[in-house]
């Protein structure tokens, strides 16, 4: 497992901060967002690719990568090493990559220049002829190509020499829950033995922030950024932008056992659905979300409405999509109740977005990694900033303080949700590995 998060890029270090309830949200430093309705975010500030890769030569080879590419390279490099694959001699043709990487940040100043200098006020249109002249001069050809979302996969595949199937999905905020689920399917059907799966995204640039401000999807609590991301709280007013990447190495069990790999956890189920409802709204009953969770649980052999044999709930932790928008959190709560019935209130159900913001296309895999850490440590991370209960949100969100489940049987089974703008929903179920 490897990640780059606003709380750090060391798995255990960032995990400790999550358990402690640290918040990484602060003023935007990457550009002057002072006057923006939302001028704060959770940034990966002290990140240098050179520190993350094994050699300066490697960093040089990938120097043209966009920020998305850099985050993903660092995460993949850590994950590959963590899996002990550095010198394992795996067949490159049996190694694939499936990411949910987002569009690369634009070369903003040159993007603006190319457009604005081609603007003809009289006709209120862009002159193609003038655009061609300014854009050819100002836009960097490689920088433009590197914005293609799949370029992130290209860098990661190059880093590890992967020659198996390579794919990228762009299903918005659900993307890297989906990429993990689909990579899981690729291994199950035998098309690869090892898959690097994950997501990477930064939308902390003027146009990215603008897009969400215009949608009124982000919190505007400019006076208290650290308290702005408050999923499930009655006073929540939108999500807070984060950025980063997460990559996990999925491996065929026999292949992993044969090479004596240490196994973090076992992926057991995956569900993908669409709301097919509206472009701008979630289905009011969370129908698509329910179906995605159910599919993942059924595949994992879990009956969501019954306690397990030892009397514990069927799932021990749900990593919520939990964005902190008024709409999502209420509907996600309804959906979890629909799936788990009477068991729902027994399951810790928290959102780490309260601490590291919404990593958009990277959120799914980063949150899956938190599930694996919960299994390994018996601790469940909290939802911070949850002070005022919302009657609509009446489940156990692990408010403000982490939950220590070590004396209550620990954490063996987790579910991780990811729902995207436009109605694409994904869920994955991960479980403690036992021989």
């Amino acid at each position: 497992m490897g990640w780059v998060t606003p709380l750090g890029r060391d798995i255990d270090g960032a995990w400790k901060r999550l358990v402690r309830g640290d918040c990484a949200i602060g003023p935007v430093r990457r550009f002057d967002a002072e006057t923006f309705a939302t001028n704060f975010a959770a940034q990966c500030d002290d990140f240098e690719l050179e520190d993350a890769l094994a050699s300066a030569d490697l960093a040089k080879r990938h120097q043209a990568a966009s920020l998305n590419g850099r985050f993903a390279l660092a995460s993949a490099s850590s994950a590959w090493r963590d899996a002990g694959l550095d010198n394992a001699g795996v067949d490159p043709r049996r190694v694939g990559v499936y990411l949910g990487a987002g569009e690369g940040p634009p070369q903003f100043a040159d993007f603006v220049r190319s457009h604005v200098l081609a603007w003809d006020e009289d006709s209120r249109s862009v002159s193609g002829e003038a655009f061609a002249r300014t854009a050819m001069e100002h836009l960097d050809a490689i920088g433009e190509l590197e914005q293609e979302p799949q370029a992130v996969v290209t860098h990661v595949a190059d880093l590890v020499g992967a020659r198996g199937p390579s794919l990228n999905c762009l299903t918005a905020c659900a993307a890297s829950t989906q990429s993990v689920g689909e990579a899981f399917e690729i291994i199950k059907r035998g098309d690869a033995e090892v898959m690097l799966a994950g997501g990477s995204h930064s939308m902390i640039h003027p146009l990215g922030m603008t897009g969400f401000i215009r949608l009124t999807a982000m919190s505007t609590r400019r006076d208290e950024p650290e308290r702005a991301s408050r999923p499930f709280d009655r006073t929540r007013d939108g999500f807070v932008m984060g950025e980063g990447a997460g990559v996990v190495i999925l491996e065929d069990l026999e292949h992993a056992l044969a090479r004596g790999a240490r196994i973090h956890a076992e992926l057991r189920g995956y569900g993908s659905t669409a709301d097919a409802y509206r472009i701008t709204d979630i289905h009011p009953e969370g129908q698509g979300a329910q179906l995605a969770m159910l599919k993942a649980l059924v595949q994992a052999g879990i009956d969501p409405k019954s306690p397990s044999e030892d009397g514990r709930p069927p799932v021990h932790y749900i990593s919520a999509h939990g964005t902190g928008t008024p709409e999502n959190d209420g509907i996600e709560t309804k959906a979890v109740k629909g799936v788990f019935g009477g068991q729902a209130s027994r399951i810790p159900f928290s959102s780490v977005k309260s601490m590291m913001g919404h990593l958009i296309q990277a959120a799914g895999t980063v949150e899956l990694i938190t599930c694996v850490k919960a299994i390994q440590t018996g601790m469940v991370p909290p939802t911070i900033n949850l002070r005022e209960p919302d009657p609509e949100c009446d489940l156990d969100y692990v408010p403000n303080e982490a939950r220590d489940l070590r004396d209550a049987g620990g954490v063996d089974v987790c579910l991780s949700n990811g729902f995207g703008f436009g109605g694409q929903n994904d869920a994955v179920c991960v479980q403690r590995y036992s021989e």
Binding site: A141, L145, H155, D158, A162, C169, P206
Partner: protein
């Protein structure tokens, strides 16, 4: 082969036909049979400053005309890419005789048995729309005042501005219109997006996650930023000032796939959406079968990073990843290379790209001459739209029983001019991509 998967509906929207009443896939096949090209001067913007002002574009694209009345407003928040997908999907559903909730509540399949996997590209913001907001906040050097932008200039952008440009909107609008609540995905891998989406749809059906999928891809890079990117990448043929109009003088079409003298490619826009369906349920409902989908393979290139750089025109190396993808697709289909009767390749028309593709095909087929249907001279380079279009071409020609006259490719080289070809039994559809993924499908005649 575990489960029979078939293609029962084909929708294609290209420069050869995609507007109202033009007939999408049939018009595409007819154009190819007649050797026509849709490449002509660009009219949607002034392209005078680019290396070429020629492209294949869709005349009369009319998403508004095909969506139900209550959904017309939503067309305003659809980028052109999305409109192409929505139109192609409607054509495909109609062709398949598939009843979805657009037409009736008595649908062919329950909504959760319908998947939707539509590949897409990086969608550029419409230049006029975004610049009308950027310009007032910028000085005469084109530098933006971020403070002014934040204070209110950004409000010139409509509230839903960003939603229009999310690549997953192609699939999302199609799921909403047709009521597909099963697996939904948006694969974004340049020219391979469509083939990967169709191949993954096969797998979704095989694993029991759906009975039918809307599957394919669409893209329009026919805008100032899209054209800039491809020209900067060294892919566009220089035609400006040469007075070429290939639609009238096809012998002068500068796009000549696998010809070492080809001067580059020309831009197109379009897409293809197929209805990919479980054979058993398709037969139960009495659907006509256009073609069978019998093999899928994907593989990454060792030299993927090079594809993110401007074309090195001296490059003369194979793309092993493409050979691997084809071998995997053949293995999946359980056939040998000698059983492939025709190829629908990428055939970009960019000499270095074609050399790599030709060498990769040569590695699989040896010196055997295989009829190779090159379609980019007719409908241009449609990037993420390619895969959907290529698969649509293969499927409709198999269904129709007429195969366009094609040259033959042997050992990576074209032999002579177009010749009549027998209707093939097995067609290979394949492509490399910007970014280094490669995908291949094997289609089989239905009988």
């Amino acid at each position: 082969m575990a489960e029979g998967i078939v293609i029962t509906g084909i929708g294609a929207v290209t420069g050869l036909g995609g507007g109202a009443g033009q007939g999408g896939a049939a018009a595409l096949l007819n154009g190819l049979l007649e050797g026509r090209s849709a490449i002509r001067p660009i009219e949607s913007f002034d392209a005078g400053g680019f290396a070429s002002d020629l492209a294949s574009w869709i005349d009369g694209l009319d998403a508004k005309g095909i969506v139900p009345k209550h959904y017309r407003k939503a067309v305003k928040v659809m980028a052109r890419d999305t409109q192409i997908a929505v139109v192609a999907a409607a054509m495909a559903a109609e062709d398949a005789g598939l009843v979805t909730r657009v037409t009736s509540e008595e649908t062919t399949y329950p909504s959760e048995r319908m998947g939707c996997l539509i590949g897409a590209g990086l969608i550029a913001a419409e230049a006029t729309e975004v610049t009308s907001a950027l310009a007032p906040a910028s000085d005469e050097h084109g530098t933006m005042d971020l403070r002014a932008w934040g204070e209110g200039a950004m409000e010139k952008l409509p509230p839903l501005w960003m939603l229009k440009y999310l690549p997953n909107m192609l699939a999302c609008h199609v799921t909403i219109l047709h009521g597909c609540t099963g697996v939904s995905n948006t694969i974004t891998f340049g020219e391979a997006s469509g083939l990967l989406s169709i191949g993954e749809s096969m797998r979704v059906i095989e694993r029991g996650d759906a009975d039918a999928c809307f599957s394919g891809s669409a893209e329009s890079k026919l805008n100032v930023l899209g054209l800039t990117r491809l020209e900067q990448a060294g892919r566009i043929a220089q035609t400006r000032g040469k007075g070429l109009n290939p639609s009238e003088r096809s012998e002068e079409n500068p796009v000549r796939p696998f010809d070492p003298a080809s001067s580059g490619q020309l831009l197109g826009e379009g897409g293809g959406i197929l209805i990919v369906e479980r054979e058993q349920t398709a037969r139960e409902r009495g659907a006509k079968i256009a073609a069978r989908l019998v093999g899928f393979g994907a593989a990454h290139s060792a030299r993927g990073l090079d594809t993110l750089r401007p074309i090195d025109s001296d490059e003369n190396r194979t793309n092993q990843g493409l050979s691997d993808a084809i071998e995997r697709a053949l293995g999946d289909a359980g056939i040998g290379a000698d059983e492939i009767d025709a190829i629908v390749p990428h055939g970009a028309g960019v000499a270095a790209m074609d050399r790599a593709e030709g060498l990769a095909l040569g590695a699989v087929f040896g010196d055997r001459a295989v009829p190779t249907l090159c379609w980019t001279p007719s409908v241009g380079e449609c990037m993420a739209g390619n895969g959907g279009i290529q698969a649509a071409i293969g499927a409709i020609a198999l269904a129709d029983g007429r195969w366009p006259r094609t040259p033959r490719l042997a050992g990576g080289r074209m032999l002579g001019g177009p010749e009549p070809a027998d209707v093939p039994r097995h067609v290979l559809v394949c492509s490399a991509s910007l970014g280094g993924s490669n995908a291949a499908l094997v289609l089989r005649r239905a009988d």
